[in-house]
Symmetry: C2
Subunit: 211 residues, 2 copies
DNA sequence: CATAAAATAGCACGATCGTTCGTTCTTTTG
DNA sequence: CAAAAGAACGAACGATCGTGCTATTTTATG
């Protein structure tokens, strides 16, 4: 009889699949999802090409799995810890702080960002997943900003998508500069810019939070 | 006798080299410099693989040539027209405006940005050229900002590299969002953010430009 | 027009790509 | 332990990769 493994079950199959995905994820950080080849991946894992291939029906499915694994890690490290903090500015600050740490650990390349620039101009399942990921995360940022508006921690006439764009842009700058000019300087610039941004969105005293 | 062509001469050789580079540049916009293959390029130009190959001693030299061509176009469209405007804020504004137009025409991908994310984590001639390009352009931005500081158009205690980082980050956000969510919304967000940024760097009235 | 030179084509090479198929080894089940 | 099922291997496929080498065609020279 077959064992009816589920995706989250910890059988043999799922275990080596996770092992492969871990290696694939690391390789994709350096060379992108387009630079990920089954041959080099198999060599990295220590398996045969066909052995690796059998876990994903195609290269594209492998890329999709790596991309999904990347998102899971991002949410685990950036979003979920921030959910423990109170809604509003504290949570927004935590998101940014966790994001900076993410960029530090993933100096050798963020798979999500690399994938975004690799597939933003094409079509197909990878493009669709990238678009879903990016717009989903942007919405999360807008929600966090809305909470801060509701708390009166940022100006009442704040345009949340506008502010989310500005914060996201800072993180793009962080990744870009960290990879090219070094992480420490990039972090300094990013955090300073974020504080300036918060100041520019600060509510006018005595005008807001009035009953 | 041979004709002693120079690189900028308009002989036959240089002409077809430019033709090949034009096609290569367009292909690289969609697939990156790493996705650029001599076979598909030759097919696109309508030549044989070896015919194309002969113009560049190697694939890497082709990639370097494309990258250099990209920088030339960027400077032509973004920097040089801005030099006609007076130093300071007008020129800085022109740079940003031209840059936005650049992003519009190059929605299908900016070769310079793609190359930056492709080679920032590796080593070799392409990495070196990317680093030179990016740090050179950042310095240009700092110079433009310094002029605005000297004119009293932005605050006297402005940290030019900091401000340059913030502007550059906005442009990264522009390219990112334009490709994923559409150019018009991305431009709106970018220009609005730039105006907010200028406000936040505005000198305090009556404190500066005093004899 | 003849001739030398330059530009392009054609072909082949080893390597690697993603993928398929049949076999072998390993694990689980009865 | 035997039998069934699952997982990994090994070889091979056609395609494409970058790169040489040799012809052939095109262009420029005298």
């Amino acid at each position: 009889m077959h064992m009816n493994y589920t995706a989250t079950s910890t059988g043999k199959r799922a275990a080596t699949r996770e092992l492969i995905l871990e290696h694939a994820y690391q390789l994709a950080r350096r060379d992108g999802l387009e630079g990920l080849s089954i041959g080099s991946l198999a060599q990295d894992v220590g398996m045969s090409k066909s052995g690796v291939f059998a876990h994903f029906g195609s290269r594209e499915d492998l890329q999709l799995a790596v991309l999904e694994a990347g998102q899971l890690r991002f949410l685990q490290q950036v979003k979920w810890p921030a959910l423990k903090l109170p809604r509003g500015l504290p949570r927004l600050r935590a998101i940014v702080a966790n994001w900076v740490t993410w960029a530090q650990e993933y100096q050798s390349g963020c798979v999500l960002l690399t994938a975004a620039s690799e597939y933003d101009g094409r079509e197909g399942p990878l493009h669709d997943m990238v678009t879903r990921q990016q717009s989903g995360w942007r919405q999360e940022m807008c929600r966090a900003i809305d909470h801060a508006v509701a708390n009166g921690e940022v100006s009442g006439d704040t345009d949340a998508p506008q502010m989310a764009f500005e914060i996201y842009a800072l993180m793009l700058g962080l990744h870009h500069d960290a990879a090219l000019f070094g992480f420490e300087e990039a972090r300094r610039h990013t955090l300073a810019a974020f504080e300036r941004l918060l100041v520019s969105y600060r509510p006018l005293p005595g005008r807001e939070a009035a009953p």
